[in-house]
Amino acid sequence: MCLAFPMKIINKDGHSATVEAGGVSREISLRLIEDAGVGDYVLVHAGFAIETIDEHEAQETLKLMEQIALLQEDDEIR
């Protein structure tokens, strides 16, 4: 039930916004996040954006995964 989809804000009007993902667009409420703007990716759950997705943090997470993959066996037990 806690499923939420990353969608991009393409239009904003007060508490409402139009978001889009994979060619699907819909109206949502921005009441739960005050600072999201056009172009931001937000997580959409039950018709509300519940949080903005931080692209920098996403890139950092992917980088960290690559670093884990490169860890040598000795590194891990230190």
């Binding site: 806690c2 499923l3 009441r31 997580l43 509300f48 890139q59 860890l71 891990e76």
Partner: protein
């Protein structure tokens, strides 16, 4: 970046599972990790995560499906609401087929009662606006991810002066249930895969007591397969180094203090209350009821109805499955009389239920 495909890279998944295997070899003992979110449960099965993990890692599913932990009495009340004149009951789709003591909402709808599935509580509010001669009741079920959307809808209802919209509130809070699980001597949990979107609202600080007071490693983990593998690897590092703490793998969404706007709305509209969980019983301060200024939305107070006495199938073991004490295959009803088409218990009905996941994707 679309924040989905990047976290499904097969090559990285292979590398991460190799590292998990190496860590388990260093650790030299089996571990038991619990996820407390139904969306994790389904993602773990859908992406075959269990098949690429060493057999020494046991993944348990906890009480993470809001439908599964909702007691029969709530369903019985919802069914009674639907039998009232001039009432439209609105619900998220996964509640429709959950058996109450002797009926389901789907069955009541087939019998002619007005029960409608909505995607958002705002859709239910719009329905109330379009039907001023009807009373629209929304079945407000869900964890901290969902409850702010109900709070937002009630504020909207007030602003639009809509007086025929009501909610039947059964919202639950995840941290109190986790506390109950770590206090259970029958369950030996080595670490929690903490929920992704519940944590987007409540923040990572909400789990600190688990690491500090109970020494349980916690990693807030995203729902994509690479997220889950990395989250498991992070938990194993904590276990290996005997350094339990709260870490956030899903840092692209989850902050330390959570979504403060949503938390402020929750505090405005709801107050904490003791709540009944299927399988766990009454858990102190683990639910939300409407706060003083919002009681007029409370369907339970506005509509005085008589409900039948709560009954459960004597063979149903959902209560134990929810606590991670029993695998679905050890329930005598599983696959034989309890199937997704004819579910007996809620864990088979909800698409995020543990029994439904085992039925659909098989077991280890």
């Amino acid at each position: 970046m679309k924040f989905v495909d990047e976290f499904r890279n097969v090559d990285v998944a292979r590398e991460l599972s190799g590292k998990i295997e190496q860590t388990m070899a260093h650790l030299g003992r089996p571990v038991c990790l619990m996820e407390v979110c139904g969306t994790h449960t389904m993602s773990i099965y859908r992406h075959g995560i269990k098949t690429i993990l060493p057999s020494s890692i046991k993944l348990l599913s906890g009480p993470g499906c809001p439908v599964c932990v909702t007691p029969n009495s709530y369903l019985d009340q919802a069914i009674a609401f639907s039998r009232l004149d001039d009432v439209i009951v609105t619900t998220f789709g996964d509640m429709l087929n959950v058996p109450g003591s002797s009926a389901t909402l789907a069955g009541e709808r087939a019998a002619g009662h007005d029960i409608r599935t909505v995607y958002s509580p705002l859709d239910a509010l719009a329905l109330a606006q379009r039907n001023p001669d009807k009373k629209v009741i929304f079945l407000a079920v869900g964890f901290e991810t969902t409850s702010p959307t109900i709070a937002g809808t009630l504020l909207e209802s007030q602003e639009l002066s809509i007086s025929n919209f009501f909610v039947s509130c059964a919202h639950k809070l995840i941290p109190p249930a986790m506390k109950l699980l770590v206090q259970d001597p029958e369950l030996q949990i080595d670490g929690f895969i903490c929920p992704a979107h519940v944590s987007a609202i409540i923040g990572s600080d909400a789990y600190e007591f688990l690491a500090r007071d109970y020494g349980i490693p916690c990693v807030i983990t995203g729902f994509e397969p690479l997220d889950i593998l990395q989250g498991i690897w992070m938990l194993l590092q904590q276990i290996l180094n005997s350094s339990p703490r709260v870490e956030t793998q899903y840092s692209r969404v989850v902050k330390k203090k959570g979504n403060t706007t949503a938390l402020r709305l929750l505090a405005e509209v709801f107050e904490k209350t003791d709540a009944a969980w299927r399988g766990l019983g009454i858990v102190p301060e683990s639910g939300l009821s409407l706060a003083k200024g919002y009681k007029r939305f409370d369907a339970g107070s506005v509509f005085q109805i008589a409900c039948e006495e709560e009954r459960e199938h004597p063979g149903c073991r959902c209560g134990e499955v929810i606590k991670g004490k029993r695998e679905p295959e050890t329930c005598g009803l599983f696959r034989i009389v309890c199937t997704p088409l004819a579910p007996v218990g809620p864990c088979m009905v909800s698409p995020e239920g543990t029994c439904a996941a085992h039925y659909k994707y098989g077991t280890d």
